[in-house]
């Protein structure tokens, strides 16, 4: 292969010139966007930090979380902290009193979502969380973590539809079982406090 010295440099110059000109009319070349003015659409699968899902209107009562602490145990960087609710007699309720996630520690791995048997914890896509208060504002409390199911449906429509269907099926099965039970015993069943029926 005959190689004329200097030709390679000229080829390189031509290539950069083509990129220079191309950057003005070929939109595929400029990958950057002007961030605060324009934003990329958030991908449906995108995950950032976890959130807690509640059904209905009341974030306190509708919370799906039953405080089983599986996520706390499975969380690789140990950023979840749960304290269960106790009633007046000191009996442990199936509801978290404290549910904190330290997002300065969280590594967005989604393992808590995967291990949760109640579909109570899901991934949020909110990414503009920068703050000056490193220790306080990055510790998300239950109130900040709780998001309505509608919000979840908006963020991850496909996944949410699946979850809703699954929950509905489970609820139906449960209702059927309850009806059977009721028919059998005719006693008034106590409705569990953490019931997630909408």
């Amino acid at each position: 292969m005959k190689h004329t010295p200097g030709w390679g440099l000229l080829k390189g110059l031509f290539e950069t010139a083509r990129n220079f000109v191309g950057s003005y009319y070929q939109p595929g070349r400029l990958t950057t966007i002007e961030y605060p003015d324009e934003r990329l659409p958030v991908q449906e699968n995108f995950r950032n930090f976890p959130m807690l899902i509640y059904d209905g209107a009341d974030p306190e009562r509708g919370l799906r979380c039953v405080g089983c602490k599986i996520c706390e145990k499975e969380c690789p960087p140990q950023c979840i902290y749960i304290v269960l609710e106790r009633d007046r007699s000191g009996k442990v309720q199936k509801r978290p009193r404290l549910f904190d996630i330290d997002v300065s520690v969280c590594m967005s791995c989604q393992i808590c979502v995967e291990v949760c048997p109640f579909d109570a914890i899901k991934m949020n896509t909110e990414y503009e969380l920068s703050t000056g208060d490193r220790f306080g504002a990055l510790l998300l409390r239950k109130a900040e973590l709780a998001k309505p199911n509608e919000y979840y449906r908006r963020l991850h429509p496909t996944e949410a539809a699946e979850v809703d269907a699954r929950l509905a099926a489970a609820a139906q099965a449960k209702a059927a079982a309850q009806a059977k039970e009721q028919a059998k015993l005719t006693a008034k069943p106590a409705k569990p406090a953490w019931s997630t029926q909408p």
């Binding site: 140990q78 950023c79 902290y81 904190d100 330290d102 300065s104 520690v105 220790f135 510790l139």
Partner: protein, 220 residues
């Protein structure tokens, strides 16, 4: 998967040939309980270099490539053996359970994964065991045979405290030179002297409080 690869000799055969080739080498085939069931060959430190050289230069093996070198820490184990004996006590035959405890002393291991680039087979897992976990934690360095072991043996030395005799440059590699302990040992205790990143509800926070209370001032 493995059937496509040219097969290597069995460990037993290799052991037989090695015993013939390297006089006096103590070799043992260590079984592996996992599904992979890939056994390994344990060699004593005194003959390790000779064995390694044979493995590398033997025409049928040509294990010219040492992929992975690592250490494993086995703590002292208490082994309980329960012996049931029938003995006649007071005229009655009774079943007695006698539990004896004895401690299997812990040791450190250096594990080498060998492959052949030339013949495209492998791996052969080679192990060396130290006498104990303290002063006797010495094995032979195989860096003269495979250069690739150089940094990895240093790492094992650094993190496990295994001294590789014959290594040309045995220094700490990941930890700093002044560091005292060997952090990958199973009985390693974290020093209480670094800057904590206090996170609420964390044992780290409690630790940080304790540390800085001791140091005279609560930073968290």
């Amino acid at each position: 998967m493995s059937d496509l690869r040219p097969a290597m000799e069995t460990l037993e055969r290799i052991r037989t040939r090695l015993e013939a080739a390297v006089a006096g080498a103590e070799l043992e085939v260590v079984a592996n309980g996992a599904v992979a069931a890939q056994g390994s060959l344990r060699v004593d430190a005194a003959h390790a270099v000779a064995v390694a050289r044979f493995l590398r230069d033997d025409a049928q093996l040509q294990l010219d490539y040492c992929s992975n070198v690592t250490g494993v820490d086995w703590l002292d184990r208490v082994v309980r053996t329960t012996v049931r004996t029938r003995r006649v006590i007071d005229g009655l035959e009774r079943e007695l359970e006698q539990t004896t405890e004895h401690t299997v002393p812990g040791y450190l291991e250096a594990v080498y994964h060998l492959y052949s680039v030339a013949l495209r087979h492998g791996p052969l897992v080679l192990r060396q065991r130290t006498a104990d976990r303290a002063d006797g934690a010495r094995v032979a360095s195989l860096t003269p045979v495979w250069r690739s072991a150089e940094f990895q043996e240093r790492e094992v030395y650094d993190l496990f405290g295994v001294v590789f005799e014959g290594h040309p440059d045995l220094r700490r590699i990941l930890m700093w030179d002044e560091f005292r302990d060997h952090p990958m040992r199973k009985d390693y205790v974290e020093p209480d002297d670094y800057e904590y990143e206090p996170t609420p509800h964390d044992e780290v926070l409690a630790k940080a409080r304790r540390h800085y209370a001791g140091a005279g001032g609560d930073r968290a």
